[in-house]
């Protein structure tokens, strides 16, 4: 997993609430047995018409958002199905940071496991970012160490993150290895139960 410390990138605004993981990656693409290659199917039915051509009225297809690595969306982002294919698709497409007023619990956990930082800001802050990103090519910098997000036009906000998630993301750690380091505790627990 790639560590995240300071990330600067182009912002893509998707100003909708309750975006569920069925929209992020529709079920027909969940049949693959690999972790890679899901980016091409991200927001599939919003990006493509039934004949496979691009929907011009969906803003991710606007060339000005090409190369965006920060997604900003409405509240309750990632609700619904637990499919980790959703963060896999976001990351494979190029998004390393997701900003929203709130996230679904399972989605948020899945992000940490894949080195994606979910940043929770207030409604007003999110709206501010959405407005700026909808107008022109808009860059934000996220400093995870300092838990701070800012642009070069005076916008700045701080955000909360659990110390554990922060540590995992900063180091790009695999938590199975961490857990297996305290395997004796698991064994003790199992012995005490039986």
């Amino acid at each position: 997993m790639q560590p995240i410390r300071i990330h600067k990138g182009l912002v893509y605004p998707l100003n909708r609430a309750n975006i569920d993981t069925d929209q992020i990656i529709p079920k027909q693409f969940l049949k693959r047995i690999e972790r890679q290659g899901f980016g091409q199917f991200l927001f599939y039915h919003w990006r493509f018409k039934d004949d496979g051509s691009l929907r011009e009225d969906f803003n991710l297809n606007d060339p000005k958002f090409k190369g965006a690595s920060i997604l900003v969306a409405g509240e309750n982002f990632g609700c619904g199905s637990s499919r980790e294919h959703a963060p896999w698709a976001l990351q494979d497409y190029g998004f390393n940071i997701v900003i929203a007023p709130s996230f679904a619990d399972i989605f948020k956990n899945n992000c940490v496991k894949n080195g994606i930082l979910s940043v929770q800001l207030t409604d007003e802050q999110v709206q501010e970012i959405v407005n700026r990103a909808e107008q022109d090519s808009y860059q934000l910098t996220v400093n995870l160490e300092e838990q701070r997000i800012y642009d070069n036009q005076g916008f700045e906000a701080s955000f909360d993150i659990s110390p554990y998630s922060k540590e995992m993301l900063l180091n790009g750690w695999d938590d199975i290895a961490i857990t297996l380091n305290i395997e004796d505790k698991i064994r003790e627990f199992e012995t005490a139960q039986h």
Binding site: D22, Q23, K27, K31, N76, S102, N110, Y164, E183, K185
Partner: protein
């Protein structure tokens, strides 16, 4: 004296393997359920790191999402077939019990867990599926996880979990006749929205909850996730104990009585508190129909499709407008004027024997409306066998329903069962998201009774009056 604990805190505390400041708790997992869609990458991760499954004996697998519900062995979709073959191979390589496609215990993971008695009060239960909350009906702490977490549980039998906040949803009184458990949970989500449960585990309490059968409790807990709560649970009582008695994986004889005593002791202590409390009056609940593209967009069958202009916030107006456009509905139109062309009775929410009995009772002696395609997909091979023993299959088939084999089927349309673009379905499943039942498909979530009545009428109708009319005819 110790601070009184609620049932959620009790189960949590009993499972903490390791606790350290600034970290989530490391929680022991008693039962890990596995299916074909969210597990292949987890097993692959184990292989890449030369890790094994720590407790194959606490792991149980089935295939349900992809399986065909007719001509079971002809899997036309080669990618689906690969995924199912991969699970078979993984279970064989890592020593995990699998209820394979032709196994008499095969079925939807959240139907067979309880059926086999794998699901038990006080257990921590996980599965790479958000509807794992279903098992909370037994007083278990059960929640959905992602594939990386599946891998973590396979390798360590534990999970790092932040301690959740607790929410008591208290349902007073009794549900009216013709009002189902599905209506209860839809009405709660309709009133409080799709995110009031985020960050919480819900305990459902109150007279109306006590009055529910185990299968009805499963329907309620199943949809906790649609309120944003990863888990919802109900304190075990005599209903729970009698349901479990004699099932394959529960202790037998005297051991069972001992287990039952420990289950009774899980109940929240006198004076236990919660981080939040919500109270609902069961009598006020009518049969529900969703009109939009998330389960919170839900109203009584007797009401009207909402007008975006009546919403307070601009963002809400947009959300309603977009939903009405996708659903092809007009603001102000009566819910009962919505005509449907598909009916799906099935899914981990409503595919158990009592669901099928309730639907069969509504349709008995009647015919599916011309132009409506109606499917019944039992939740498991056992449910199917029981229904056939009771002759329910005949009632369904004579009415014009298709009678299928077990699986997730049209709930998420990963197999061949889907609603075509623009099609409109009365569905007993749990999600009315865009494209859920097929690209461009329009889903209305309802109870099995309401779905059955819609199948006959070709549009939504208040099953309370419908059943009355049937009785009088």
């Amino acid at each position: 004296m110790q601070k009184p604990k609620n049932i959620i805190e009790k189960i949590w505390e009993k499972h903490v393997v390791h606790r350290e400041d600034g970290k989530p708790d490391l929680l022991y997992i008693d039962l890990h359920l596995v299916h074909e869609v969210t597990s292949p990458q987890a097993f692959e991760g184990l292989r890449m790191n030369s890790r094994k499954v720590r407790r194959p004996d606490l792991t149980f697998a089935t295939m349900d999402h992809n399986v065909p519900t007719r001509e079971r062995h002809i899997i036309k979709d080669l990618i689906s077939k690969t995924q199912m073959d991969t699970l078979k191979q993984n279970c064989s390589d890592f020593g995990i019990t699998l209820a394979d496609i032709d196994h008499p215990e095969n079925g939807i993971v959240h139907v067979i867990g309880p059926e086999l008695g794998l699901t038990q009060p006080g257990k921590t239960i996980v599965c790479g599926d958000s509807h794992t909350s279903t098992h909370g009906a037994f007083g278990a702490l059960a929640f959905g996880i992602g594939t990386s977490e599946v891998e973590h549980v396979l390798a360590t039998q534990t999970l790092w979990q932040a301690r959740p906040k607790t929410l008591n949803v208290k349902v007073n009184g009794q549900l009216g006749k013709g009002v189902a458990a599905k209506d209860l949970i839809l009405a709660i989500i309709g009133k409080y929205g799709v995110r009031f449960g985020t960050g919480f585990v819900i305990e459902f309490t109150g007279e109306a909850i006590r009055g529910l059968s185990m299968e009805e409790r499963m329907t309620v807990c199943n949809m906790s996730i649609e309120a944003g709560a990863r888990a919802g649970l109900i304190t075990p009582d005599e209903t729970t104990i009698e349901y479990l008695r004699g099932r394959r994986f529960v202790p037998q004889g005297e051991e069972f009585e001992k287990a039952a005593d420990s289950w009774r002791a899980l109940a929240s202590d006198q004076g236990a508190s919660y981080d939040a409390v919500i109270e609902i009056e069961a009598e006020e609940i009518a049969p529900q129909v969703t009109w939009g593209t998330n389960p919170g967009m839900c109203l009584p069958v007797t009401s009207f499709v909402p007008n975006p202009e009546s919403a307070a916030k601009e963002s809400e107006k947009d959300e309603i407008r977009r939903a009405l456009e996708y659903m092809g509905l007009e603001a102000g139109q009566p819910i009962s004027s919505i005509e449907i062309d598909h009916v799906f009775i099935g899914s981990c929410t409503n595919s158990r024997i009592s669901d099928l009995r309730n639907a069969a009772e509504v349709i008995q002696g009647r015919k599916v409306h011309p132009g409506v395609r109606a499917l019944v997909v039992p939740g498991s091979a056992s449910v199917k066998a029981e229904a056939e023993k009771e002759g329910l299959d005949v009632i369904f088939k004579e009415a014009g329903f298709e009678w299928r084999d077990a699986g997730c089927s049209m709930c998420l349309a990963m197999n061949d069962d889907f609603v075509p673009p623009g099609g409109r379905c009365a569905s007993t499943s749990n999600r009315n998201f865009e494209g859920r039942q097929g690209n461009g498909a329009r889903t209305h979530l309802v109870s099995p009774e309401m779905a059955a009545a819609a199948a006959i009428e070709g549009r939504f109708t208040d099953v309370r009056q419908f059943s009355q009319a049937v009785l009088n005819s």
